[in-house]
Structures are given as C-alpha cells and as structure tokens.
Symmetry: D2
Subunit: 457 residues, 4 copies
C-alpha cells in the first residue's frame, strides 16, 4: 500500500502505477536520499521532534539501508514507487514504528528537490573533472604542435596559415567557458529547499541554515512555494551540457573533415576508428560522428524540459517529475562521450606532410595586402589590388610567387623586389604574435595562460 493511500478506498490502477512510478530512474539518487534523511533526522532532533535515542536509531537504520544498497543486499518490493518510499519502507522494517517519525514536517516535495540538487551538485563536479581532463589532453597535443603549420579556414575555405596548436587550443577555451557555466549553475543549485514542507514551509522550529550546511549547501531557499517547484537548476545544467555538446560537435566536425583522405591532416588511432561491414578499407571516425550527433539529443533534452516547465501553475505539479530523465540522459551521454574523446585527442596523430601541402600561396593574399599597407596604401585599395593579383595568378595557373615583378608593379608601383619575402608561410604565422594570435610565441603564451586557468578553476 502506498504511503499516501489513507484517503482512498480503491487501490491505484496498475497502468497508473507504471506511469507514475519513478523508481526506475530515481534510484540512482539513493545516497543523496539517505544523506538528506540523516541530516533531517538531526535537524528534527535539534527541533525537539525526536529524542536523542530515536535520532540515533533512525540514523543507524539509514546507514544500514545505505550499506545494504551498496552491498547489493537491498531488494525493492512492489509498492516502492520511488527511491524515497523504498528507503523509508526498508528503514521502517529495520527500526519499526519510529521510522514513521522521519517524515515529520517534511514533504516529498522538499525531499525530492533536496535529493536532486545534491545529486546535481555532485554530478557537476564529475563532469567538471572530465572536461578538465579533456582540456589537459588538448594542451598536451597542442604543446607538440606549436610550430606545426596548417591551413586555417573560414567558411571551410583556406584563409591563412595557422599553427596546429592554435586550432587545438581554440577548443580549450570553449570547454573553459562550459566549465565556468557549470560552476555558475552549481552555485545556483546550492540552495537547500529542505524545510519548505509541501509548499507553505514547515511548522517545526528547524534551523534550515544549519541543516543546509550539513548537507553541503551554501544557501537556503527563501520562499517555500518557489523552493518546491524551482527546476531552474536542471534547465541551466541542461543548457550548459547542450552548449558543451555543441562545442564537441564542432570539434567532431573538424576531426571528421580533417581525417577525410582528401585532407588527411589527422589520423585517428585504430582503437577509435571503426571499419565497415561491407567496405573493409574504411576508417570511420565513429566516436566523432556520435559526438556530433549526440549534440542533438542534448539540445532536445533542454528543449523538452523548458517546454514542460512552460505554463505550470504555482508551486509543485507532478509535471516536474519529468525533470530527472532528461538530465540523467544528458549526464550519461557526456559521461560516455568524454572519456572516448579524451582518448581520441591523446592518440591523434598529425600528418605533417599533408598539413604542409595544405598551405598554398593564395593564403598569403592578406600578407601581400599588408605589404602594400605597410608601404602606405590604404587597406581597401591594397585589398582590391591583391584581389586582381590573385585572380590573375589563378587564371594562369601560377603561384603568386611565380608572377613576374613587372606584372606586380603594373598593379601597384609599391611592389618591389622585397615582395618575395612575403611568400613565406612561417613568417606569415610568426607575424601574428599579438595576444590570441596564431604565432608560436603567442600560442606558447596562450598555453601558459591556459595552464594557469586550469589550476585556478
């Protein structure tokens, strides 16, 4: 019989039970539920609801339940509609009627919200660590390639030469923002709803601040109606994870394209490529395709929860039970994805021959314009002149460096013999040495800053 059944004559319908019951997915919060109950037992002992002995009995009972669950000797029974009733049911089996006192002044509404927040706070730490390890892997690879040149792209068209390290580090900063967003989301998760009752607050003289601190919360909620229905922390975490998914999808897209044989810049380790049942020569970047594809799912989980929350009436509504599966799925998705991506990054190899071959002189067009600008020509004019030069070279199947000086000086008298120095990829890169630029010197500085950032965040 369910805990709330007192007022009903008929048992609830089986189909309804199947629809209602959340044990299937919320059982993973068992530890948070027990931690919350232990802290709550202490709080209502302090408030005079339990005497010292009752409190000890309950706490020892709860610890036994925890031990049973973790050792695998705990069995769910029919009627355990969620992890909260399961724990309380077993507790009462162990400690007897005093188990019925634990719920005094507490509602499923504030209990569930507390458990879930604790779970999210812990999970954010875990994801933060995974992301940090991903960042470290990027730095590790970048340090090997601060001088390796490659074509830099905009619009997937070769634009200017860059360093491989610069490309790798661009993803470092995306993940850094993701971690900062996670930290901010955690900050707003760390508000204890415990002591809000079902909706109106508790009539017990509970010290909510002490109770919150005992559980690791930094703040307490200030309004009980809000406390039992606030799922902003779920939506915000889902958003952060969707954003992370988008970043990983962009990295994945790059790796997929760069490991296409026409590029051939990158080779995934055999362990992270898969073949085809029909085409044995294929080296499919499956994990990267999954990384790209799963961004969709992360976006969908966010969208779904926001739509669920939209238009809900005041305070707790059962619709809110939809909060967990979406988040669990997003967390599981990234928890499965990131270890693979870390391994992929660590074992990426770069084909320097192909990278070098990717550099073509038209990628120095900007440098050629800069040459004219340095000689005093306004940039816009330089730009138009170089545009004509590029087209001429292209139309005649020549490299720009093969164009006769006479042709160039016909275009602008500012072109003189020293123009030859422009056609050097290494120098082109080295020039972009300002903060955030692609020059090895700037990239080394970038990597230093990245390392400091990792230490401090």
């Amino acid at each position: 019989m369910s805990l709330w059944g007192g007022a009903f004559l008929q048992p609830s319908d089986d189909d309804l039970k199947a629809l209602n019951d959340s044990l299937r997915f919320d059982k993973r919060m068992y530890r948070q539920d027990i931690d919350g109950s232990i802290a709550y037992a202490q709080a209502i002992r302090d408030a005079g609801i339990l005497d010292a002995k009752e409190a000890i009995t309950l706490i020892q009972g709860l610890k036994q339940v925890l031990q049973e669950i973790e050792s695998g000797s705990f069995f769910f029974v029919a009627g355990d509609e969620d992890i909260h009733t399961a724990v309380e049911r077993r507790l009462t089996e162990i400690v007897g009627a005093v188990g019925g006192k634990l719920h005094t002044g507490r509602s499923r509404n504030d209990q569930v919200a507390t458990d879930f927040r604790l779970w999210v706070m812990k999970t954010i730490e875990t994801l933060n660590d995974l992301l940090k390890t991903t960042q470290e892997a990027l730095i590790e690879q970048a340090e090997q390639h601060t001088e390796t040149l490659m074509a830099g792209y905009t619009h997937l068209q070769p634009a200017q030469p860059i360093t491989v390290a610069h490309w790798l580090m661009s993803y470092f900063w995306m993940l850094q923002r993701d971690r900062e967003r996670l930290r901010d989301a955690r900050k707003r998760t760390s508000f204890s709803p415990l002591g809000s009752g079902a909706l109106a607050g508790t009539p017990l003289a509970i010290d909510r601040v002490k109770l919150a601190n005992n559980l690791g919360f930094t703040h307490v909620s200030m309004n009980s109606l809000d406390a039992v229905s606030d799922r902003d922390f779920v939506a915000e975490t889902l958003f952060t994870l969707a954003m992370t998914g988008v970043h990983l999808s962009r990295f994945a897209e790059d790796v997929i394209i760069f490991s296409n044989p026409n590029f051939g810049y990158i080779r995934l380790n055999d362990r992270y490529s898969t073949g085809s049942s029909l085409m044995p020569q294929k080296r499919n970047a499956d994990p990267m395709e999954l990384a790209r594809g799963k961004a969709g799912r992360l976006i969908g989980n966010l969208t779904g929860l926001l739509a669920t929350l939209k238009g809900l009436p005041t305070s707790y509504n059962k619709d809110l039970q939809e909060d967990k599966e979406a988040l669990f799925d997003s967390v599981d998705t990234l928890s499965a994805l990131l270890p693979v991506l870390i391994a992929v990054i660590k074992t990426l190899t770069f084909n320097t021959e192909r990278l070098t071959a990717s550099l073509t002189q038209d990628m120095l067009a900007t440098d050629l314009a800069d040459y004219l600008v340095n000689k005093g020509l306004p940039f816009r004019e330089a730009h138009h002149i170089v545009g004509r030069v590029v087209r001429y070279a292209s139309d005649n199947g020549l490299e720009m460096s093969q164009l006769p000086l006479e042709f160039l000086s016909d275009q602008s008298a500012l072109f003189t013999e020293d123009v030859r120095q422009v056609f050097d990829f290494k120098q082109s890169v080295a020039k972009r040495a300002t903060l955030g630029g692609t020059a090895p010197s700037a990239v080394n500085q970038q990597i230093e800053t990245a390392k400091e950032t990792l230490q401090n965040t």
Copy 2:
C-alpha cells in the same frame, strides 16, 4: 571480435564500445531483423547467391534464433554490438559457415534502415489502435452528456453555454488528425531500402520490389544514397507523436482545471487520483499532470533528432544511430500514457450541479446581442449596447434578467417584453445547431460522423 575488425590490429577501446554499441536499445527490433533476414535470404536465393538448401538452412536457423529469443533461451555475448550482429553471430553458431553468406550484398546501412522502418510501421499500428480506443472512450462519455450544459470558455473566461459532449468531442477531432498524420507517416515509412547496399546499390540481381512486398512494404526506395540515410520517417513520426502529446496536454489542462474544487465540474475516479504524503485530502490528477508534462519530452525528442540530422554530409553517417532512442522514448511515453488516459476518460464523472452553477447570465450577452440583431440592428451597434447593459448589471450586482425593462428600453427601443425569453441557457445552446455547433442536435450529428469516421479510418 567484431564483424568489421579485419583491417585493424588493435581491439577497439572499451569506452568506445560502450559509446558505440546499440544493443541496449535496438534489441527490441529482433523480430524485424529476423524477418528482414529471412526475406533477404529468399531474395539472394532467387538471385542465385544461395542454393535452395543453403537458403533453407539459413531460414530455419533464423527461425530458431527467433524462437530462442522469444522463449528466453537466447543469450547475448560480449561482442554483440547490436541486434544485427547478435542475430548473425547466433545464426552462424547454429548453421555454421553458411551463415556468413547471408550478408552478401547487404550492408548494415540498408539492414538497419529496413529493420527500423518495419518496426515503425508496426508501432504506428499499435499507437493508432490506442488512439482509436481513446476516441471511443471520448464518444462513450460524450453520448452520456449531449444535453448536459456547462460553461464554454475562451481565454479561460466563461463565454457561452455549451454541452459537455461538445467539449469532449473537441478532443476526438484532434486525435483524428493525429491518426491521419500517423497514417501519412506510415505511408512514407513503407519504402524498402533493402538492396541499397552500403550506399551505392547492390551488384546482385535482386528483385527489390518482390523483396519489399514480402516484407510488407508498399514501395521501394529509388536512390540508394538517400535510402541508407533517410530518417524523415522517424522525424515525421516524432512530430506526429509530439502533436498528439500537445493535444493530450490540452485535455489534461482542462481536466486539471475542471477538477479543481473551485470548478468541481469533474471528478477523477479514485483509481486515477493520488493523494499527498502530507495532505491527505488532496485528489491530485497525477496522470493528467504527467500527460501535460510529457508533452515537453515528446517535443524535445523531435527537436533533438532534427538537430542531429541538420547539416549531415551525404549518405550514411554514424550520427544516424541517434534516431532510435528518441523514437523509442516517444513511443514508450505514449504507450504508457494512453491506457491510463483511456481509463481516466471512461471513469470520469461530471458534477451536474456544479456544471449548472457555472452558467451565469452574462454568458448570454451574445444571445442578447443576437436578439437586437434579429430586430434589425447592425451587429456592431447591438454589441455596444449589450456591453453597456452587462456593465450596468455587473456594477449593480444584478443578473441581466433582473434588469427592469425600462432600463433596457432606455438603452435601445428594440428591447421589449419578449427579451425575457433570451435568458434561457438551454435555448441558447439549442440555437447553435449548424454543423459543428454545440446544440444537442448538432452534437448528435457530430457523434454520428465521428463513429463513421472511426469505422473508415
């Protein structure tokens, strides 16, 4: 060792396996996979790839695999990365090397697409039946209440009296459109991709049309690149289910509001109400709140898949593996929800006392305007006059029928003694007898049409 491992020296990484493997969710397509393989064995026998004996061996082996799965004697082993490899692995254990011939000219790409389409076609039938039963429940209730009056709302403000049956039947037509959309989605699912190979078509002389028909498809795909990557049928089905979810969420919202005690129009059966752990008097419409909330999840599943599909390069990409979990989740959601909703509808009771009390004379304002219009006043003028009458009545705490005739005739000389007849809710309803109107006569006709529609669709 995985089936595609021939070209690789190192085993794939465990984390990657966990990420890649789809057995966890695609095993529910075991029957479609086996059906597809049986039909394919026949097709390649007809094409001369298998001799008659080999074909029989394979088909009998496949039937044994099916029997093992359905009887629970089938065990998955490490290396079964998806249902397709699991079935083929077991088949080869049973029939020996000839099992390796089944895959001739077939790719995982066309195999998976075939299995999934078959599964979707079957599932659409199941959902169609559930929706039809929901519609029947609505009709059943409506037939009890073709003459029961209630307040009709727009903007959740009482507007005009309607019949309860009319309200119930409004949901019938929403579900009817959903079923028609499902039927259209099924029509576009019923294209067989089998015989498309990995991407370029099959070199075997397979009769694709016969093969398709054997499997229950009505059409064959016309382009192999499209065939292996077309997931429109998934997105379209997800859209249809999201739309259904939206309709159910609207019904849920009505039921939740109408069963609030301030309304009290509706009482959910005890079996479909739940209490509160702290407030035993509550009669929460939990299944309706879940119905409302789960619309979000259905929307999220659709959004997620569309985002996954967006920007994919030509032909098959591993991202497409993300198609199944979203659809399985939407299907499971509605499969869990609809039986409960059907039971809720069948056991709904209406509180006629409260429904009658919901009818207030200001809901006859339109009828009063119609009265003036019938006497020749342009509608806009009638409207303004009645507006003043309503406000006067409201300001003076009077029902409109209590206003002295002198007052009314001061507003318009057209008001005469016969205005008293306007203040009759039953007559107000009876007047709206045009097709689709709320009059009992029109609603009876509507129900008849609904029944015919059910028989024909």
Copy 3:
C-alpha cells in the same frame, strides 16, 4: 476606439496595444480576409441576415477596400489593431452602418482561423512550386552527369565509386517527400472553421459547406471548440518546412565540403560565391552556409510553436496569436533561400579531373570481396581476407592492383589472374544496376521515374 471597447471605461494601455496588436505582421493576409468576408456576406445573405442590396453594398465595399490596398491608397489608422479591424473599419467608412452587419454571427476567432488557413493553403502552393523548380534543377544537372564518376562517401570516408547524377538525385527524393508532406499538410489545412462563432457555433442558418466550398476549402470543421483553436495545420507546416530545411542543410554541407579546394569537386558560380574583406582569394559558399544555418531557425520556429500550444486550456486563447510570426518567418526564410539554391544548382560546375582523382582503389575493396563471393566464399570470410589485403597495400604504399598475384593467392587460393578486372571504377559502378543503384542505367531509370513523379505530383 477598439471594436470590443463597449464594456470598458478606460482606454487600453499603449504598451498593451503594442503587445497585443498584430497588424504589423497579419496585414499580409489582407486578401484572405477580404475573400473570407465576401463569402461570408453571401452566406449570411442566403441565411436571410442581409437583404440582397445590403449584400451587394458590402461586397462592393470590400472589393473597394481590396483595390485600395493593392493600389497603395489604403492607410492604416490608429486603432487598426489587426488586419481584420482595419478592413472592417475602412469598409464601414465606405458603406456606412451596414458595415456593422458583416460581423453578425462571426467572431474574430473563426475569422482569423479562416484567413490564416486560406493563406497557408495558398502559400503551400507557392512553396511547392519553388521546391518543384529545385527538383527540376537537380534533374537538369543530373542529366549532364549520369556517367561522371565520383567518390561516394559514408561517414565522409570514401566508400565506393558512384555517379554524380546519383548524388544529385538523392536530394531530389528528399524534396519529393517534402512536397508530399506539404500536400498532406494542405489537405488538413483545407477545413473551413467559418461558422464556428467564438467557440460554440453560429445561431444563424448558414450553409457552412457551401461557404467553405466558395472559399476553396474541401471540408468543414466538425466541432466549433476545436475549430477556433486548432493550429495543427501551422505546426504541421512548420514541421514540413523544418524537414525541408534539414534536407537543404545536408545538400549545403556537401556543396561546402565538395567546393573546399582539397576536394575541388564543385565550383560555385562567381555570382553565388562571395569573397572576404581580408582575404581576396576566398570563394566562400555563402548561400550554402546560410542554407545550412537557417535550418536551425526553421527547427526553432517549430519548437517554439509546439511549446506555445502545449498545455493550453480549451478553445481559443490569446496565446494562439503567436502562430503567425513563426510561420511567416519560416515561409520567408525558404522563399528567400530556394531561388538562390535553384540558381546555385543550375550554375554548379563539376571538375571532372578532381572527381576522377577522387577515385582510389581501396574504394573497390567491396568489389574485391564480391569477386571472392562470386567464387563461392561466404561473404564474411571474403570480407576478412580483403581487409588484410587492404591493410597490406596501405602499409606498403601500394595500390591494390599493384599487389603481386602471389601475395593475393597466399591470402586466398580463389584469387586468380582475372582479379585484375576488378580494378575498374566504371565497371564497379555499372554493376550496381538494380533499382535505386548508382549504375548509369539505373540512374537513367531513376531520372525517368523522377520526371514522371514531377508530372503527377
């Protein structure tokens, strides 16, 4: 003063007006509004509400309003909160008090729904034509390239040789499904809500079927509550357009990748490429990037509307006013995009040299496996053997055709001199001649079917 102001003492707030007023975007439905009013005037004349002269006056007045709008001599005035009030206001200025009769028995609720459905029905035709033209452009290009070979990809890894026409035609079928979805959406749009009143139906003896047919609707709505709040047709159209956007985004991705210089398969016409302000050599496929990016917006418009509809109470709610801007935006997006894409497709040029160079012998691995299969080896074994061959060739920097026969026959005794015939791309393609395959013969048949399809749909 607004038309509904009679019951209010204070004018509505300016900010509210700005929020409420929909004239800004709904004015584009002026023709549908006037058409609807003309038909409605005829219907209420037939129902005896208007005499023949009044009806003529109203209809002539409405035609004058239309003429004024189309000639640019119509001016909106303060108080025109939407196109419906603007038209009615001007009508009344022209025809006097009889203008106030037009609204008899009609509500803004059924009027707006009618206008919007008419607009959607017309717009679907327009989009259908644009999509058809896009399909024709694909066929036109495909016909030039039924024998041009290129690498076919899965996972963006070269897999098997295909024909360019086959690649182009894969998009034909996606758009075909989109058009069929549009047709189905139109079918469900073609239900006239006119005569549903505000929510409860009309008390007038209107022949709703005749009225519907006069306006071009094929059906009438069967339930007035549903009729005034059904926005399925908007959501379904938005879904269809989002799906189209996804298809175009895939085509765009291909074109962007294929026009990257490392591929160089495709060259966009100068008119449809853009340069860079800093890098004059760039040939950015801007329209394709926009096509890819705008798929997001189309998905967002769909998601947004579904979230808006979720959980709405019975019948009309003002939330429904949010239906139009989303659809207008999706329609405008595709209306701007498709003409550019059509031009892009028509002017695409293919670099046959680069396409030929894209064909590498490892793409014949499947053919090599087929060779062994044809000699009786089960496919799975053939697959493993060829896997070893591919790796050996790759490790030794050799083409497969350069491998000595001794090496091959060491792998399998089935390899004999005739294996040389396998290494022919043209033959590889020609073999895939089954329906939907990439062989020129099959592609020609595909194109024929496509042309017939265009004629019939």
Copy 4:
C-alpha cells in the same frame, strides 16, 4: 560594388544579396559599430598605422556618421549590405581615401563579433533594469498582502493556507535568478575579440587589452579562431531569456486561473483586460496569455540557435549570421512584455472575500496531523488517521470542525477538546514561521531580504 568584390568578374546575384544582406536587422548596432571603429582607430594610431592627423580625421568622420544616423539624415544606399559597410561607405564619403585605412588588420569577423558583444552587454543592462522593476512591483504588491490569506495549491488542488504576499514573492526569486544568470552571461560576453583578424590574429602591434578596456570589455579573447566564431554569449543570453519567459508564463498561468470567475481571486485593471468582439462581458487577461504564449517563442529562438551552431566547422562560417535575429526577437519580445507585466502587477486587485472563501477546512488536514504528532504519534500513523477523518467528513458533507469529538476520539484517543484550536487558518499560517515559510513574520523577513538583494544586485 561590395567591399570584397575585387576578385570577382560578375556582380553578385540579387536574390543572393537579399539572402545575404543583414542590414535589415543589424542596423540597430550602429552605435556599437561606430564606437568600435573609433576605439580601433585609436588602437591602430597607437600601433603606428595611422598618424595622429589621420586618426583625428577618422574619428571626427565617425562621429559625424553617428550624428547623421541619430538625427535621421543618414541614408542607406544600394550596396550597404550590413551596418558595417554602410558606416564605412559613408565615412569614406566624408573623409576620403583615408577611410580605407580604418579596416587595416581588422576583419568583418572580429568587427561583427565586437559590435554584437557590445550590443548584448548594453541590452543585458536594459533587461536587467526591466526585471528589477518587475521585482519591485511584486514587492510593492506583496507588502500590501502579508496578512491576506489565500488557498495555497499543489497540483492545482488546494493544499494549505498561505499568504498572498508569499505567492507574489515566489516570483520575485525566480526573476532574481534570471538576473543573476544575465549577470553571469554578461560576464562571459565581456571578452573583446577585436584584434583577432579574420581568424589568425592581427599582424599589427595593437594593445588588445587597452583597446578592450576602452570599449568597456573586462577581458580579451585568448584565441583568435575561437574569438571570431564564439557565439556562446548569444546562446547563453537566449537561454536566460527563455528561462525568464518560462517564469513569466507560470505567473501568467496563475493570474489567468485566479482571474477566472470560479476563482475570482484577482481582478486585472480594465486597462489590461480586453473584451471580445462577440461577448462583451468577457474580461480576457490578454497580456497574460501573450506572456504565457511567448515563452514558446523564446524557447524556439534558443533551440534554433543551438541547432545552427551544432556541427559547424572551425572558425567563422556564414551560418553565424543567424545569431542576431533570434536574439533581437527574444530581446524585443521581453522588452514589449515586461512593461505591460509591470503595469499589470502594480494594478492587480485582490478580492479578499473570494480569497477568504477559498479557505476550506480540509486544507487544515496537515495541521490536524501535526496536532497528533505533537502528542507523540509518528507522522505516518497520524497521516493515516487524518486521512480517514477527511474522507468521513467529506462523505457526510461536514466540515472537519463539525465532527463530534466522539467520532474523532474513536479514530485516536489523542484527540481531545483542544483539537478545536486547529481549525483556524490564521494560526495555521502563522505557525509556518521558519525561514522561507508563509507566516507573515517569515514573509516580512523574506521581503526585507528581497529588498537588500535588490540593492546589492
């Protein structure tokens, strides 16, 4: 001729222009564009690219362009494809060829990103102020109603008595979190990309930190590839606004339900209610319905951008042009909505008679259980006993306070005469005096904390 046209022989297609051009929507960033250019002119002067006189000329020219735009004397011309080219075109008209120097080392990519970030930073301030004013309006109303009682709901079922102020304040804290999220989003927006060039960094010796500070940025971006393509700040702002929209939709839902006549708790001021064209008595809460409905649009804008960003290749792609309209629309939506909501809140009136009538004794069931708990009964037992009492009272049409003591003491011997004191709503509320509870004392404390929070954030 467009600025990048140098390399092209043919003019760009008109349709393409229409598709590409962003002037239509990006012109609202004119001030940020000019501010950015002024600061950039100073930076390249400091870097020696401009001499002092040239810098003054450019800056004065830019100020004149600003003045022309703000005074309405600026005219866009054909070829002004975005605000950046329009400003530069006009600048060059004013200052001559030196205008062509402004773009030295700057790309459209870093320029656009800079302008948009500046615009977002400013806009966040504006929205923050609007939200703060909304919070102040809530406090203002709450202070009037710290002792006004009403039914508190969970599941839209009456649960426990609460104070009106407590209900109002629940929305204060939601908006507070929204403002904190905005602040965090602004923090991550405040990174200057200027000096990143097109993708690889600038070759000029620009002091990027000084340049950033001059523009009001607190940080500079650390990687140029990331800098030109990072749109996290847009997505994060869109998420924050969607979350705000969800909160407003919940408030809207409450107000819509509470102003339904069956509730009658709330009356919207006439200025913020609208009538119906057919039903003059209606008092539709249109602005609240729009608030509820527009949450969908805000969710859609977020979803759309995330889908657009998903899977983009490295660095800048034209797809990113899709970032602005979504954000502009979300900002405009809230900018139109919030002033109306503020006015609605300020002018809300509460019907204390109806609020009092909403309190029914079954809402004291929890208090009755607490009564037994205080006498030593475990909560779970108390709960079951009270459940039976509630059902008995309900079945017999009695208030709980009307039940004879004998009946109660039959249920539990702990019920004695003093049970009568339980049936007092005021006392029930007053008991919930813990932090965050609904008691007037706790609510007063809550309001004080809220005021302090407003001062500090």
